[in-house]
């Protein structure tokens, strides 16, 4: 036993034992433990296997920067991979497993990769793309295709669950004057100071306990701090990580609501995604201790020095019996003393020469001494050390733990999110935040201030800065200067070894070694951004929190430059991983997007409709009788419409009320066809173009009065047309006196189509003789009332090509209208028809919809050129014939028949010439249906040169997606009743 729980140490609750499982074995810890501290208390040293080489790894830190102890929590649909054991709170029944290993992290077959290191060096993946080295270099990617699956299986860390996520997540918005990120001494001082001025202050802390690095202090009590802050009026959010800083002082934060609870209340979300809008942000995000690269610096038992202090004073775990601390700075000495007092034998290796430190005589201090190589594979047996001046002067120290401190890096990640480049501080060998022009202030060790008292003072200065931006005058005091150690830090990043194979790791999580950086340099990757991508340094989910600076220093050495000359890579959000589920929040399943239903939705369902999603709408698809299939049903429905009459819900069309003295002028300017002389009581079909001359939408407008129109748009373009009219009236034609109002929700509509439609209507309206050809001619509009007196609007309009009408009624009366229409339609052997039959009827007539008007089609392409007025100007008129839009070989609307009448085809089929079945062909089929009238499949679509060019020529419909091909011919899109005799009847 080398790592043990100590009595009288730690902030854990020893009255509450917590049992958990690790790799299916049961262990025990205490409330307040992290998974890592509980594993260490049970002397479990190997907790993971590394990414490429499958080397045993242990706990290397005590926080979010962890890159060794990545584990999988839970199982089944709750399985969560790559969880940092150092930040996972222990709870009763927690089920954790090692990952990236088979059969277990203790004994892993993948460990063989450790000996194949040459194949897995930097750039391995890229080279494999070029052919397997060295046999196939330059021979292309063929070999990659073969090996990809095997490599993907072998590499990679934990495996995510393939099942749907059973947890719920939520989004939350918060507002405050001052947001403080971090609850260390600087953050707490800033929060108190600002809250004291009655400002609305939020303090967020990623940890479950407040205190930041004070938690590593034996005497510090975090519970007092929580109460204190609350008494100041600070809103404290713990277990909440600020993962990104965005424009306008907005912070994205992730709150872990139940990740620490064994059986959470199911009404709680697992995590909460918070968008916090602050007027000023104070970043007290702290600093992270760095490692030093030397041979075998990843053997379980290696950890940062400060982490060992955390484990001792926060969790009561003494992590080693015989500890060597290796450092280049002052920060480890307090730790050394405390570890010694707790009962360990402690030896310090300091790379520096003349330093003065008061140490108990039992602690051995070796000056000008460096760590050279760790002996041992699954655990540390001893450490070879060497003298700084003479690396051949070596000796061995027996130990079971090596603690490392290579200096400290302020967490500048969040500032970097704002595009602010950090500045290298040569004296303290760290990047500190650059000049910030936004309302963001960095305080504490995040700006490179090391001493507790200085941190507190910097928090107060930061608070003053925030108050000045918020209009509370405070005298400007300057920040304590960067640094604060009594002896200066030594530039030690790597201890080079002549051993082979030497593995000095700089990015533990991605198994990037010092040698990889040199290899990348030899192969010509000299920019840091290229280095990062080639070696994958800093690209693991710790984002280079531990390895970046060492990587930069090695690159600087190779390039014979300084670190600031080499520069640093940009940090991007998120600071720590954010689950996709949290980003999605409640927008899943049925809540993914709003559902729109028509006022007769229930009526349709009650009458047997099968529904289909069309955009946001649910619309009747077909009305099966006696277990009919979709195709049986729609063919029957379409047949009945052409024979007698059918009723169809068309409410989803967009409806706009246009009112005002300039209503006619507006309508006339936006449609291509003339509207100026449309008489009251008449409707007209119209086409709208975009500014650039492409068709935007088609629809109808009915003139209800001198200054009033009722416009219908397609379902798909309803919102777009409304916004468009508003834009025109508010930004371009501000002198027009006209108002537009969306009334889509206010009116319910039904189509009554078929030769018997007039008879049905007369049975439904108040005056049974009202609907005649004279009274209501084609495109006529009638404002009348139903038999029961309910006012309604009727227009004679046809999408099916039959004698047909549309009736609109106030939405609240939709069921009543449908009842009356349906009751009377049945007297004429009519039917209800859905979208599928509607589609069949319109394809037979060659009417276009959004499938055809896809934003690439001109009015001429759609065969509607005669609707483009030459006597007036309108939106798009100047542009509709520009250059390419009037080319000879444009695709024009046509109809398609299969040559063999038994053949079917699908929308999306590519139309090709017989001997040239390739590429984009000469056209495409956009809509298809079985035509009950013609007795075979038909389609409409586009072909270059139109009907004229391809009449009587056999073409091929190619459908490579469905692996289908058929011979087709081009016909007129107007396949039924081209003269429109039925419609005008």
């Amino acid at each position: 036993m080398t790592s043990v729980r100590k009595d009288n140490y730690g902030k854990i609750n020893r009255d509450k034992a917590v049992s958990f499982t690790w790799d299916n074995k049961e262990y025990s810890g205490y409330e307040g433990d992290s998974l890592a501290s509980a594993l260490l208390a049970n002397d479990i040293k190997i907790v993971g296997r590394s990414f490429k080489y499958h080397r045993p790894r242990g706990v290397m830190s005590s926080g979010v920067e962890e890159s060794g102890a990545l584990v999988t929590i839970g199982s089944g649909s709750k399985r969560d991979p790559n969880v940092r054991a150092t930040t996972q709170e222990l709870y009763e029944g927690l089920d954790a497993k090692g990952q990236n290993a088979f059969p277990s992290v203790n004994f892993d077959f993948g460990g063989i990769n450790n000996y194949l290191g040459r194949f897995f060096a930097a750039g391995f993946y890229y080279k494999t793309f070029m052919g397997l080295p060295p046999f196939e270099w330059g021979k292309g990617t063929g070999i990659w295709m073969v090996f990809e699956k095997i490599i993907r299986k072998a590499a990679g860390m934990g495996k995510a669950s393939r099942e749907p996520d059973p947890d719920s997540y939520e989004h939350s918005n918060d507002f405050c004057d001052v947001l403080v990120v971090g609850s260390g001494p600087a953050g707490v001082a800033a929060a108190k100071e600002t809250a004291n001025q009655n400002l609305n202050v939020i303090l967020i802390e990623q940890d479950s306990l407040l205190g930041g690095n004070n938690l590593a202090d034996r005497k510090f009590d975090p519970s007092l701090l929580q109460k204190q802050l609350e008494s100041y009026g600070v809103r404290v959010m713990s277990r909440t990580t600020a993962f990104g800083v965005y424009d306008n002082t907005v912070v994205g934060a992730l709150e872990r609501v139940t990740d620490h609870i064994s059986n959470p209340n199911t009404s709680l979300p697992r995590q909460r995604f918070r968008t916090i809008r602050a007027k000023h942000i104070i970043l007290a995000s702290g600093a992270l201790e760095r490692h030093i690269a030397f041979n075998n610096n990843d053997i379980p038992g290696v950890m940062t020095a400060n982490a060992a202090r955390h484990y001792l004073n926060r969790y009561g775990v003494l992590t080693g019996k015989n500890i060597v601390i290796t450092t280049n700075n002052d920060s480890v000495y307090q730790t050394a003393i405390e570890l010694h007092e707790a009962g360990s034998k402690v030896t310090i290796l300091d790379s520096r020469k003349d330093i003065s430190m008061d140490l108990p005589k039992e602690i051995e201090l070796h000056l000008e001494t460096l760590p050279f190589s760790i002996n041992g594979s699954k655990k540390i047996q001893s450490l070879d050390v060497c003298k700084a001046k003479d690396k051949t002067n070596k000796y061995t120290i027996i130990c079971d733990q090596v603690l490392v401190s290579g200096g400290w890096s302020p967490i500048v990640n969040l500032v970097s999110h704002r595009g602010i480049e950090p500045v290298w501080n040569e004296e303290n060998l760290c990047f500190v935040p650059g000049d910030i022009k936004e309302n963001i202030t960095v305080v504490g060790s995040a700006r490179g201030i090391w001493n507790n008292d200085d941190c507190v003072e910097s928090g107060i200065v930061g608070a003053n800065e925030a108050m000045n931006t918020l209009g509370i005058d405070r005298k400007e005091i300057s920040f304590p200067s960067v640094g604060g150690w009594s002896n200066s830090i030594d530039a030690l990043y790597e201890v080079k070894s002549n051993k082979f194979p030497s593995k000095s790791f700089i990015d533990f999580q991605h198994d990037v070694t010092a040698e990889d950086v040199r290899l990348a340099h030899r192969e010509g990757f000299v920019s840091v951004e290229h280095l990062k991508r080639y070696t994958t340094l800093g690209m693991a989910n710790d984002q280079g929190k531990m390895g970046n600076i060492i990587g930069l220093s090695l690159m600087a050495e190779q390039l014979d430059k300084t670190i600031p000359e080499v520069g640093t890579t940009v940090f991007r959000p998120p600071y720590t991983p954010v689950p996709i589920g949290a980003l999605t929040g409640r927008n899943v399943d049925k809540h993914f997007r709003p559902l729109r239903v028509t006022p007769m939705h229930q009526w349709n369902i009650d009458h047997g409709a099968k529904m289909i999603d069309v955009g946001l709408y649910q619309r009747p698809w077909y009305y099966p009788e006696n277990n009919e299939t979709l195709s049986d049903s729609y063919i029957r429905e379409a047949t009945i419409v052409r024979k007698t009459v059918g009723i169809c819900d068309v409410t989803s069309l967009g409806k706009i009320a246009i009112q005002g003295p300039d209503a006619t002028e507006l309508v006339n300017r936006i449609y291509t066809n003339p509207f100026a002389k449309l008489p009251i009581g008449k409707a007209r079909y119209g086409i709208m173009l975009r500014d650039d001359g492409i068709v935007m939408d088609d629809g109808t407008s009915w003139r209800l009065g001198e200054n009033e129109y009722f416009m219908t748009t397609s379902t798909a373009a309803a919102a777009k047309v409304m916004s468009w009219l508003e834009e025109l009236l508010q930004t371009r034609w501000t002198d027009l006196k006209v108002n537009v109002t969306s009334v889509s929700e206010q009116w319910a509509g039904a189509a009554i189509a078929g030769p018997k439609s007039r008879d049905v209507l007369n049975e439904c309206v108040f005056d049974p003789n009202e609907i005649t050809n004279e009274n209501l001619p084609f495109m006529g509009v009638l404002q009348t009332k139903l038999k029961d007196g309910t006012p309604c609007r009727v227009v004679r309009i046809s999408f099916s090509g039959e004698l047909a009408y549309e009736m609109y009624i106030e939405s609240d009366y939709a069921h009543g209208m449908m009842d009356i229409l349906w009751e009377n339609a049945q007297k004429y052997d009519g039917c209800l028809y859905g979208l599928e039959a509607l589609g069949a009827l319109r394809v037979e007539k060659g009417h276009v919809t959004a499938a055809e008007l896809d934003g690439r089609v001109t009015i001429d392409d759609a065969g509607l050129g005669k609707m483009a007025s030459t006597k007036k100007s309108y939106i798009g008129s100047a542009m509709r014939k520009r250059g390419v839009l009037s080319a000879d070989d444009r695709e024009m609307l046509v109809g398609f028949f299969p040559i063999n009448e038994k053949e079917t085809f699908n929308a999306g089929t590519i139309v090709c010439e017989k001997n040239q079945i390739e590429g984009q062909g000469v056209g495409r089929i956009t809509s298809v249906t079985h035509s009950p009238e013609l007795g075979h499949w038909i389609g409409i679509g586009f072909v270059k040169g139109g009907l004229e060019k391809w009449k009587d020529i056999t073409l091929v419909g190619a459908d490579p997606v469905r692996d289908k091909q058929m011979e087709i011919k081009v016909v007129s899109p107007h396949m039924i009743d081209p003269e429109g005799k039925r419609m005008y009847a």
Binding site: Y246, A878, R882
Partner: protein
Amino acid sequence: MIRIKCPYCGERDHSEFTYGSDASIKYPALDAPESEWTQAIFFRENIRGMQKETWHHTNGCRLWLEVERSTITHEIKSVKACHPQIEKITKSKL
């Protein structure tokens, strides 16, 4: 994370709005020649700095707004209703 102070509704999140286009464009008359329309539709300055643009308060009052926004920092300098009459009314309200 833009927030826009709608002169009618007050400060709202950008998710309530839809971006329109460059507000400095003067659209030609409908009967203007193709060349003028081409210039208005296809040619845009790629401004680095303050830019006038239109935004539609789609999920709000449905006003079209002229917003002066920095393309570098997203800082919003001014917001007003595009329609001059509406601008007068909303201004006096404030």
